[in-house]
Amino acid sequence: MTDQPIVQFREVSKRFGAGPQILDRITLALAEGEFVSLIGPSGCGKSTLLRLVSALSPVTTGALTVAGTTPERAHEHLAYVFQEATLLPWLTAAGNVELPLRLRGVRAPERRAKAADLLALVRLPTASALYPRQLSGGMKMRVSIARALSREPRILLLDEPFGALDEITRNHLNEELLDWREKAPFTALFVTHSVAEAVFLSTRIVVMAANPGRIHAEVPVEFTCARTGALRERPEYFDRVAAVSRLLHAAEEGGAT
């Protein structure tokens, strides 16, 4: 691990063509190994921020470095999990997990072994031959995350991956995401609408305000106990949720004016 941030925004602004300002002078640095959540009202540019990091969209002004280089050149270090599972329906679960390796030209036997390992990791060891339409929403998201992890990313971008799931499934996946991270470490940039989810997962929460999208506050999150399901019942967790909710509320008020 180096002192150099793995993702660094310096005064980054974004507008699409002649449209309104989406992001206004964002300055933010992620150290390797952090889990940073972005939370804020709709239209605050959280998802756009991820698109900038992944080079799906170029920065308008300012400087953005990813893994010590430009976003365009940092491809190899990144993986992305979208809101929808975005699996390819004509490939089996294993085929979907293999896809990034296939695109890299990895040979079939190696790909298969890797996919089997990853499906076991996300607790779908028997689903490898199933097609996406045979999987539930939660299972699809597990496959989608396994697909992202197959790239062994240093940085994982997650854009509201659990937003469409029910709360029970979401809680499970939150806990497991942290487990998977122990086994395959990555720096996470996580967009969410859920304060509780952000508090549970993050080492740091960035609260954003809208019109134009900007950083309202940054909150480090530390707990005295491990982040397991039991954490959700502890007062220190509630305090954090309350504190971030207040900040979010303030950010919304600020954005309206």
């Binding site: 080079a55 491809h75 992305y80 390819l88 329906p89 004509w90 296939r102 695109l103 097609y131 996406p132």
Partner: protein, 263 residues
């Protein structure tokens, strides 16, 4: 629940019986003679009497239809690859494809005989002209239908254009391509028969259902003409069944249209 099933299965039969009753009714009421409106049993009788001729003709038509259909599928697919891949080709070619589609094939018949020659080449050309368009339109639509997040995913993961085509766009287009083939499959036998009628007899005629239509008409063998219609219809069914099977074979494992529901 079972009763509903039985009714569902019997309803086409019931409709068929109703239709036959109507047929006999019209004949009885109007007193039309057999050479204008033959009875169904006269048609079946003619079909049996002419069975050797009909079978041979159906075989000839099938050859023309399959030939035209295959050429249309192949050329249509390649055209769609071009149209789906390059915007300038799409805007440039599309109006002219429409012009081709809008021109009635009957107008082109003499030109087709002149260029492709009479007999099978001409018949295949007519079949091609009739079944090409739906394949091109559907497949192009399919190639353009890969959804944005998946395209983003491929771009992010450094896919080459060829990988994007092969692993994303072609599979996305498959249901559309097959839908195009299904439309083309209903058109191809019609095209072949039409082709035989138009250009098949230019050489003196070597067979085919379209040529039989011409012959029986001249000979005023009206029950045999109806029998020819019946044979054409059966040939069409075989075609559609084959393509429906292909559709099932390619898509059943993953496509939502084959989703099994409990009820």
């Amino acid at each position: 629940m079972n009763l509903r099933r039985v009714i569902l299965w019997l309803s086409p039969v019931a409709c068929g019986i109703l239709f036959l009753g109507l047929w006999y009714g019209v004949r009885a009421a109007t007193g039309l003679q057999s050479w204008i409106l033959p009875t169904p049993e006269e048609i079946l009788h003619a079909a049996w009497a002419e069975r050797a001729t009909l079978m041979r003709a159906a075989g000839g038509t099938a050859l023309g239809a399959v030939g035209g259909f295959c050429v249309a599928s192949l050329v249509g697919f390649v055209t769609a690859l071009g149209l789906g891949g390059a915007r300038w080709l799409r805007t440039g070619l599309y109006p002219w494809l429409l012009v081709l589609q809008m021109t009635p094939v009957i107008v082109l018949a003499p030109i087709i005989v002149l260029w492709a020659g009479p007999g099978l080449p001409g018949i295949i050309t007519v079949t091609f002209l009739i079944s090409y368009f739906p394949i091109v339109v559907n497949t192009t639509q399919g190639l353009l239908s890969a959804d944005a997040p998946r395209v983003d995913l491929f771009r992010m993961y450094g896919a080459t254009r060829l990988q994007e085509l092969w692993l994303l766009r072609l599979p996305s287009a498959m249901p559309y391509f097959l839908a195009g083939l299904r439309i083309a499959a209903t058109l191809a036998p019609i095209g072949a028969i039409f082709g035989e009628y138009l250009v098949g007899n230019a050489s003196g005629g070597t067979g085919g259902l379209g040529f039989l239509v011409y012959t029986y008409n001249v000979q005023i063998k009206i029950p045999a003409l109806f029998a020819t219609a019946l044979a054409s219809c059966l040939l069409g069914f075989v075609f559609v069944a084959a393509i429906s099977w292909l559709n099932w074979y390619v898509l059943h494992a993953w496509h939502d249209s084959f989703e099994r529901r409990d009820r």
